[in-house]
């Protein structure tokens, strides 16, 4: 039995779905962001696996992964800064405290 692309794709899909469940169900803003990160890990794994098995020399998937990493790092930085800003005005980091948008 050899390890193929399918095994990696299944694992990536599992991680992505776990992150998706967390992003939808969690009520703390930090946990929602951590779940989004889990989804990003799934996407990265998917791209690297495709890169290894479909374009091993060109490494196209690996370059895509670099961009996904940059965007998700920006997203996490902004997200956590937003959590801090909301915490300052609402004294809470629950997603429900975002119901009031004005000031």
């Amino acid at each position: 039995m050899t390890l193929g692309l399918e095994a990696y794709l299944m694992l990536a899909a599992l991680l992505f779905s776990a992150g998706m469940y967390g992003a939808v169900s969690k009520k703390g803003a930090v946990q929602v962001l951590m779940s989004l990160e889990l989804m990003a890990v799934g996407v990265d794994l998917n791209l690297v696996a495709f890169s290894r098995y479909v374009t091993p020399v060109e490494m196209t998937g690996q370059f895509f992964t670099v961009f996904v990493m940059i965007v998700s790092a920006a997203e996490i930085g902004l997200g956590l800064a937003l959590v801090l800003a909301i915490f300052r005005s609402a004294r809470s980091s629950e997603v429900d405290s975002l119901a009031e948008l004005k000031g």
Partner: protein, 169 residues
């Protein structure tokens, strides 16, 4: 021999990453959840190394297991006033579970039924040096890479601006 070794390494890393992901979703303590995410990131770095993406394995450890994990823990620390606040009720939602299971089933059907065209396997996989050379080639990826660095700079400046006190803006 190499195949068995790779298979065992994949099994261990897959088990660790899935178990930590489940641990992150079921942990009642937010700090434990952050450490579970750290374990997922490190396992993912191991999987990248298995997939011959050595540079990305390194970046995964530096960015996710290093910087992002610290950022998560700091935000948790700042937004919790008391130690007991870290323990929260388990959030559970049937619609969320249904969505995730449906998505996984759809992907699993697509992967099982899809025809994947494997590329030509080289004798020696390109390493960090070849990766860097292709990344900074003019007709390669250098322009998107520079644009991405602008995006990251803008995002981080925005993050600093947002997280300041109201009066300092």
């Amino acid at each position: 021999m190499t195949d068995t070794y790779t298979l065992v390494a994949f099994g261990v890393l897959a088990l660790v990453s899935v178990a930590s992901a489940v641990g992150m979703l079921t942990a009642r303590n937010v700090v434990h959840a952050a450490y579970c995410l750290l374990a997922v990131s490190i396992a993912a770095a191991g999987l990248f190394a298995l997939l011959e993406a050595r540079y990305l394995a390194l970046m995964q450890v530096l960015v996710y297991a290093g910087a992002v994990a610290i950022l998560n823990l700091f935000t948790i620390m700042i937004t919790l006033r008391r130690r007991e606040d870290a323990v929260r009720p388990r959030d559970f939602s049937w619609p969320g579970l249904a969505l995730a299971v449906t998505f996984f089933a759809a992907v699993a059907v697509a992967v099982a039924g899809g025809v994947l065209v494997p590329g030509v396997e080289p004798d020696v996989f390109p390493g960090v040096r070849e990766f860097g050379e292709r990344l900074f080639e003019i007709e390669g990826w250098v322009l998107p890479f520079e644009i991405a660095s602008l995006v990251l700079t803008a995002a981080l400046v925005g993050a600093v601006w947002w997280s300041r006190e109201e009066g300092e803006r």
